[in-house]
Subunit: 466 residues, 2 copies
């Protein structure tokens, strides 16, 4: 639905680009995308947004309106002409969308000339940071919801058009469907919905409202039962309509609870439905749900079949942002580093590869080793900050995680469907040991650096000190 | 930049619409937009998004792709034909964009047939909730920043395309500019930017990087001084370049600090600049700023001229969402109400007007009275929940706040510029007494209901109890 134009960027990218353009020297550069802190005090994140991003980058252009606008911002005519013909022509290596990812290991690496690499920085961060934040939230919710149906109902409270990608990212993380119609159209998301309180209110009585709805929308019919009194009015009226539907060879799909004590109301509603011979009618629940509320409802054995999750999902409450960054690792023929008073914020130089470590039988060891690109087996992985902490990996299986996804500005593989990405993600999350998935003080996944990379980094730090 | 299609909505809006379509009776309805809780534990909010929303509603259509997609979702052909010709043809009354607003008083009222009113609900909430959240955050930051320059730097951490409207809303709330180029193009926002650490890193030394930048981007030139060592390297190199610029009759605009103790570094940098005769060179600061950090910096008299605010602004941290709702007040010729176990969640029936109360000399009294539309002066305003609390308003000035902005689907006034909206908002915020603007336990602005509205509401509650 959204078309991104190349001015969807920070002005400084264009200012820097103007300078690089004038210098006109070897400008091949490498940038790493990674984040520093896991969202939600969790033990992992789910990488999302990649397949959309590749499409966006492949087609990113400065429009006539962009160029006309930029004329008044002190860019030189030759540079504006360059922007007119701008195409991203670089290469990208990345982990797969849906992969479980951890702080401080590159998730994606851009290799391009400095101008192009800078122009795409903002949109790359904007797309990946947000979708990874939301996919991670969705994944946490899926982890506690078992095989219950999870629906995204958040569009009205989403951060404006951010809601479009929130719905997409929710599916990557394990949701089953969304109320957001346009994401059904564009991403093939299964869309669903019930009725609003306003629908019931617009009638003089609840029973007539239910009857009309069931008559005109008999398929996947869900009745909202809490407009007046859930147990005394809503559920009994829903039962009446369900029985009438049976006479027409139709089945009521579900009732929806949207207020009150959901565990109590679900149990009482279940009993009323079962006593009426309607054990096939499901119970949907919504109202400020998140992974903690759903965990509590599950622990109470609340007979809820469908959870509708809104605000807390689509805005990634309480964090609201992933702190992903895009850092220069190589430029003009040399490895590059950013010094910081805190060594934990010093960047890693050179083109790199990330190796995920497994035991012989394929179990995750809980370690990712960041290495130089040309390394192929890491014998020892060092803590990036603590000088004496390290891990011997000699006899362990190691899989490279960064794979080419774009070359010369063209994506290398057909776009994966959202369903494919979601299935992959679920497999990866399931393979991650439970200790990393618990909510309270999850086990810390180790991300270290190879001996060679450590030597390169420390050498550059020394050089800068001089 | 974004084109919203009419399927940017929740499926249930279309399901309900199908039912209303089949019923084909008098379906004139009135919906109120309001929120229940102020964001950031603050004392007021700044209403934003209206002028964009009116454009969106005026042009909202179902595209061919929408209709093709909806075919597979059990809608009847006659209804799909209706959607093909869909236009919003209703009326909207609203408070002005930029107005200071308070919980539980309608900010906007939609009068339309039920189908149209439901179809626009989701996008209305999506646009207004988010922009009001961000404009309010920006306004709080402006309140403590005095006349310092405030710039939005948040696009990379924004919630995907939500960043587009975040920049817009930041201006409504009092920001001066943004790094977000496309919002300059589309909203006339003043855009600005400096350089990234990557720019400095891409050179073998900082001084050459600064020199090149100043040479090719001399206008509004800002040098980022913390890549290696702010006081030992960054500021001295910036001073060298500033002096070289003077020889070319150019002036360095500012240096930027992006890490470390900003108050300390700003004071030390100011001294170095002043000692070099560069008292015109400004100091910009960024790095996880919000209204509390800026207040602290201001209290310390940190000599910072320009604040760059990112994540905390554009995601409306820590709330992330405004709980705005859209509630039915009138339908099919009758006032409508939603009953709740808690009277604070019972909705207000009928078409309404909101009166803001002032003393004779125009000072805000701190009270908004919600009344029936036909009332013109409120003698007594009742607490909406507490039965014995009320306020006599007889001798006070009262101004109606809801004014027609759209009739028969057409906006009544030309679109206001963002600058005009922002100026109006600042005037309104300035007129609000300080007690409502402080961060800790702000004074509670009173929102009550007129005697007539109370009687109507209570009568309907009684009827529903029977």
């Amino acid at each position: 639905m959204f078309h991104f134009t190349a001015t969807y960027t920070d002005l400084y990218q264009l200012s820097m680009a103007q300078v690089y353009f004038n210098k006109n020297e070897n400008q091949q550069a490498v940038f790493d995308y990674y984040f520093r802190n896991l969202p939600y005090k969790g033990g992992y994140a789910v990488f999302a947004g990649l397949e959309e991003l590749l499409d966006i980058i492949e087609t990113l252009r400065f429009s006539e309106a962009d160029l006309e606008y930029l004329k008044s911002h002190d860019f030189e005519p030759a540079f504006l002409k360059y922007l007119k013909d701008f195409r991203f022509s670089g290469s990208i290596k990345s982990m797969a969308e849906g992969e479980v990812v951890f702080p401080n290991a590159p998730i994606l690496e851009v290799e391009a000339n400095l101008i192009e690499a800078q122009i795409i920085e903002t949109i790359l961060l904007n797309i990946l940071n947000f979708q990874t934040l939301i996919a991670t939230k969705a994944s946490r919710i899926r982890n506690v919801a078992g095989n219950k149906t999870l629906l995204d109902f958040g569009l009205r409270r989403a951060q404006g058009p951010g809601g479009y990608y929130a719905s997409r990212a929710a599916m990557v993380g394990g949701f089953d469907g969304s109320s957001n119609v346009v994401t059904g159209r564009d991403f093939g998301i299964s869309i669903s919905g019930t009725m609003a309180h306003a629908f019931v209110q617009s009638y003089d009585d609840e029973l007539t409202a239910f009857r009309d709805f069931a008559k005109h929308r008999p398929k996947n019919c869900v009745l909202l039962v809490d407009t007046y009194d859930t147990l005394k009015s809503g559920v009994p009226n829903a039962i009446t309509v369900a029985k009438e539907m049976e006479e027409r060879d139709q089945k009521l799909l579900a009732i929806r609870l949207d207020s009150g004590d959901l565990a109590y109301l679900a149990k009482r509603s279940r009993k009323l439905l079962d006593d009426a011979g309607l054990n096939y009618v499901k119970i949907a629940a919504s109202n400020q749900l998140d992974e903690y509320v759903i965990q509590s409802l599950q622990n109470q054995n609340a007979p809820i079949d469908i959870y509708g999750v809104g605000t807390n999902l689509v805005i990634g409450k309480p964090d609201g942002a992933l702190d992903g960054v895009y850092k220069l690792a190589f430029a003009n023929g040399k490895p590059r580093i950013k010094i910081s008073e805190s060594i934990s914020k010093v960047t890693l130089p050179h083109k790199k590869q990330v190796f995920r470590v497994f035991t012989e039988d394929g179990t995750m060891v809980g370690a990712d080793a960041v290495a130089l690109e040309e390394e192929w087996h890491i014998n020892r992985m060092h803590h990036p900050v603590e000088p004496f902490k390290n891990l011997v990996l000699t006899s362990l299986k190691q899989e490279p995680m960064l794979h080419p996804v774009m070359e010369s500005g063209k994506r290398l593989n057909p776009k994966k469907s959202l369903q494919e990405i979601a299935a992959f993600s679920r497999k990866q999350v399931n393979a991650l040991p439970d200790e990393y998935k618990r909510f309270d003080n999850p086990h810390i996944y180790k991300v270290g650096i190879s001996t060679q990379l450590k030597q390169e980094r420390d050498k550059l730090i020394e050089q800068h000190k001089e």
